[in-house]
Symmetry: C2
Subunit: 223 residues, 2 copies
């Protein structure tokens, strides 16, 4: 076990170095990059489809898709009308900065205001890997139970924003969005929390407004 | 990356050796061990609470709980009335055989018919780690989307049984249990698939009958 841990530390240190370089590159291109993290099946791709539909006319955006094997998600994103780069980790449980470095070679960075990275569906591993993003966003469905931030604190600690997804299903569960939010704030008092249903559209405006604010803040910072 | 992969191979090979030893020990004690795998928030603990309630009188069972940090789940299992051993991985994304070896030192193996290991909530990493179990069981909530077996095939490939959980919520989603089952069978044609709602009790009898069959089969095999 000791050997395992020390190797892992070396790898994440190298990853952070590379991620810092990516962050500089993104900043030079006035590009906001979000790293979206959640368990598998939290509704990341559906949220992104609706986000693209809503913001596609007012800003230029691209998506980098991380998946173990398939192109199901990047096919959906391309069908929604924006450029998508697929990274298949071949079973790997998270994205790393070197994968992002390769992926952005397929994008003209000067052409975009916003790049959203959809990480591999996993609430544990991706939190520890910096991808050069400006913000991490954690997505937690209300159907997963309102205790999730307490049980899997890593993603909630490292994120700046949290979307409580699938809130249209809240009445049919034993969980409450308000309790989930309180639990998340206990882990990270700075979290901006937005309950959203990508299906009904409830809460979407707050989420879109948050993205608009980040893009604007980022452009200002670059000047 | 190459270095990372070779170290990982060495570690999983050592893990498999240890797991094979554990399997022999379990077999000597006529003990059925199940390794339950799912994403975080799939309803593993709720399913186990109901399973304990239903089977507690007819067999003797214990639970080994894997969680990143908290004892929330083992507290719930103990409240349900059976012995629970907590393993906290301190952020680690899966259980390993050496952790099970330590955990069973706290159990009198001669006293049980069935030990259920509840793995860390993660649909990716736990699949690759043998814990000495007789069967892996994968839990996939219908609310996570019926495409999950195609997108995260590892857990479905390595399992002998699959519970489609939260089927009481099926009418409120865009997913169908029949489609999820067909997708899972595409990945693993041998899977025994059981749609269950631990809240309403729908499908619980099939799940309990499956466990009873495994326990009986295992006892027979030992003779």
């Amino acid at each position: 076990m000791k050997k395992n841990i020390s190797v892992l530390t070396d790898i994440t240190a190298a990853n952070t170095l590379l991620a810092n370089g990516l962050r500089e590159t993104f900043s030079e291109h006035h590009l906001l990059v979000l790293n979206v993290i959640s368990a598998s099946g939290a509704g990341k791709t559906t949220l992104l489809e609706e986000t693209i539909e809503a913001l596609g006319d007012e800003m230029s955006l691209a998506v980098i898709e991380g998946d173990p094997y398939t192109t199901i998600d990047s096919d959906r994103i391309e069908a929604a009308g924006v450029e998508a780069v697929q990274i298949n980790t071949m079973g790997g449980c998270h994205l790393e900065a070197n994968m992002i470095q390769k992926a952005i070679q397929q994008l003209d960075l000067t052409a975009f205001d916003l790049v959203i990275i959809e990480n591999v569906g996993n609430l544990v591993c991706p939190s520890g890997w910096d991808l050069g993003e400006e913000c991490k966003v954690v997505i937690a469905p209300i159907t997963d139970g309102d205790d999730k931030p307490l049980k899997y604190p890593m993603a909630f600690q490292s994120a700046q924003a949290m979307v409580i997804s699938k809130i249209d299903l809240e009445p049919y569960t034993r969980s409450q969005a308000s309790v989930m939010a309180a639990n998340a704030l206990q882990i990270n008092p700075e979290l901006e929390i937005m309950p959203v249903s990508a299906y009904t559209g409830a809460g979407m405006e707050a989420w879109l407004a948050w993205i608009r604010r980040q893009v604007a803040k980022h452009k200002l910072k670059d000047k």
